[in-house]
């Protein structure tokens, strides 16, 4: 059960890293003519092995400029990644506490 929790958090962190690359491409190509900015929508998917992250690459259809969208989404993505990293750290701390108490 705990393995699944770790795996989910790690999948989320990996998805955030993929999204960072997509958003970096959006910012870098903001002045490239004909470039269609894209973003990764995080989502969940239930499979035989349990719940997993199912990232979807989509073109951005917002009214906001490509550069502004990339900047805002990058900030949002950083916060999500930090939250997931904090979650993983907390889970590791819990593991450590359990391991220490079990050893007594």
């Amino acid at each position: 059960m705990a393995d699944m929790g770790f795996e989910l958090v790690e999948q989320g962190m990996r998805a955030a890293q993929d999204r960072a690359a997509v958003l970096a491409a959006d910012a870098a190509n903001a002045r490239t003519p004909g470039f269609v900015p894209s973003d990764i929508s995080p989502g969940g998917e239930v499979s035989a092995s349990g719940i997993r992250f199912a990232s979807v690459l989509r073109p951005v259809r917002s009214g906001v400029g490509g550069l502004e969208y990339a900047m805002a989404a990058t900030a949002d993505n950083s916060i999500r990644f930090r939250a997931l990293a904090d979650q993983e750290r907390a889970m590791l701390r819990e593991f450590k506490t359990v391991a220490e108490n079990t050893g007594r």
Partner: protein
């Protein structure tokens, strides 16, 4: 293997710096009446291109907007990488003419006698482009810093 955020941001920074170099050249030569080609300076424009064409699935997704496409190294379409500075295009616009018969470069014969050919560079448009390129460069730096911060946090998880 998809390009990392570091590679993409670095490519964008490189491209936008090259663009700023071209704009600086235009501004520096806004009053250059004679070049090696015996003509006034012609405005230059930085040309960018995306390094890879959008894969078919992604292009289809862009067209239909309702098709879910997986991302990753397992056959799914990859996000585009950073721009490539493809080169410099030279303007083919006609030069501006100013009546200045005392100028040694003034046209000596013909209907434009006494006029001097001037570059077609619009300094205001160049300054606007410079601001845009600077903002794009800043965005690349922000993306690079965000990617770096994510890696630092990932390393800190390992230390926990």
């Amino acid at each position: 293997m998809t390009a990392s955020a570091f590679d993409i941001a670095a490519a964008g920074m490189s491209a936008h710096r090259a663009e700023m170099d071209v704009i600086a050249e235009n501004l520096a030569n806004a009053n250059t009446e004679r070049t090696d080609a015996a003509a006034p300076y012609r405005e230059k424009t930085a040309v960018f291109e995306s390094p890879d064409e959008s894969p078919f699935a992604f292009a289809l997704d862009a067209a239909t907007d309702d098709l879910d496409v997986g991302i990753g190294d397992d056959g799914g379409p990859s996000p585009p990488a950073g721009p490539i500075f493809a080169g410099v295009a030279q303007s083919d616009a006609s030069p501006q003419y100013r009546f200045d018969p005392s100028n040694p470069l003034a046209i000596a014969v013909g209907p434009r006698r006494g006029f001097v050919a001037l570059p077609d560079v619009d300094p205001i448009a160049q300054m606007v482009d410079l601001v845009g390129a600077g903002r794009a460069y800043d965005a690349d730096v922000a993306a690079l810093q965000a990617a770096k911060q994510m890696d630092v946090e990932a390393v800190e998880v390992d230390r926990a």
